[in-house]
Subunit: 212 residues, 2 copies
DNA sequence: CGTGCGATGTATCGGACCGATACATCGTGC
DNA sequence: GCACGATGTATCGGTCCGATACATCGCACG
């Protein structure tokens, strides 16, 4: 999952680890706390070894004389490669059981702007099915096993059941919207271009000024 | 977390792994899918090595002659030890950062019937604080960074924000209830008992003496 | 002037937990 | 008699987290 998320973020702009983590938190804040460096750095290494990403030189122009001696303990900027973009497209389109659990669904959903409509629909329906199953499980417990459980445990189940029902309704709306052809509820003031084919980073200009 | 959950379930009755998993699913179904055997069995081994649980003989009375030769490939029933009960009491009362994340909070909450009121209140308030922080983070993103994100990502954040607000309200209710002295919303028709062998969970009263 | 402190930044290690897999037993229906 | 699904125990590789370490930079405060 992290692999997919990192490739997705780097698709938008080259970045170093620290920045990447912040972007990840902004994009996935609704579903995960914050990615640990203990996951992020090994993942970056793995992606680099596979050739999906490469290190990008900082300070391209205006190169001051190499400070050499002092071992240059600076940050490392990564950018996605052409193979990385292919890999991302492959990962974002392919669905398995893990696509429908909380984290997997969240990550896929966060990149729906880069996913074709058929896949979006498939994922939304798969997620709905999974949540409906969880809902049925909770109803069973609340119905059949209620007298075996204490009041606190029951309250927990009720709260979980409520969350399930709510999410199913949310998904229904999204599915209906999706079928009718347009992006989610939002008014849509031209901010999304839809990422029709491949490549081509999204419209909003990156305000990453970095250096003079 | 698994350690706490297993000790908590075994507190209610001796059980073998397969059964334990089902009980765990019934108790924690609202927060986790189902514990993997790849986690459960190593945990049982660890708990046994530490002396918190022991293997209990099956078929205590009516013992048929030992089938001996055929290597006895049966199920293994575990029961909690006195040290295990102490361990459980220690774990259930101690709170750290991990007590307030989704899984940690869920497990603690599921055993609130065996937790004293002061601890319950502490945990509920800690959880509320954590969710409020997550909520503020989401509001920030939706406010400040909205134009940098596409419609789908924004929709995800909105849904997450909604879930946060809802959970905060739920927690408020529970906290108010807790302060007023009685168990959660449920009418409480005296059916709640469970715990076949020993220590009954306290209704509203405290008196966490635990010694039989 | 220095000095401490919080933000930025990279990196590793042990441990928790999962998913896939393997295999053995038992009851039941065909 | 035998296939098949439920019951049941067990291991392995891999992903991810939390704690920890350490180095640099800007800036506020005395």
């Amino acid at each position: 999952m992290l692999e997919l998320a990192v490739l997705g973020i780097l698709q938008e702009a080259p970045m170093h680890g620290y920045e990447l983590r912040k972007e990840l938190s902004a994009k996935l804040g609704a579903i995960r706390a914050a990615i640990s460096y203990g996951s992020l750095y090994p993942t970056l290494r793995r992606l680099q070894a596979a050739g999906w990403i490469t290190e990008a030189d900082e300070t391209p122009a205006t190169a001051q004389e190499v400070p050499a001696l002092t071992s240059r303990r600076g940050r490392v900027v990564y950018k996605i490669t052409a193979e990385g973009k292919e890999r991302f497209a492959e990962l974002i389109a392919q669905t398995g059981p893990e696509t429908y659990d909380d984290t997997g669904f969240g990550v896929h959903f966060a990149f729906f702007a880069r996913t074709d409509q058929a896949t979006r629909l498939r994922i939304l329906e798969g997620r709905r099915r999974k949540i409906e199953e969880r809902r049925e499980g909770l109803r069973d417990v609340l119905g059949r096993a209620a007298e075996r459980l204490d009041a606190y445990t029951l309250e927990l189940q009720r709260h979980g059941l409520d969350a399930c029902e709510r999410e199913v309704r949310w998904l229904e709306e999204l599915i209906a919207n999706e079928r009718s052809g347009r992006p989610p509820t939002a008014p849509q003031t031209g901010s999304v271009d839809g990422a029709r084919d491949d490549s081509s980073p999204p419209p909003p200009g990156d305000s990453r000024t970095e250096r003079p």
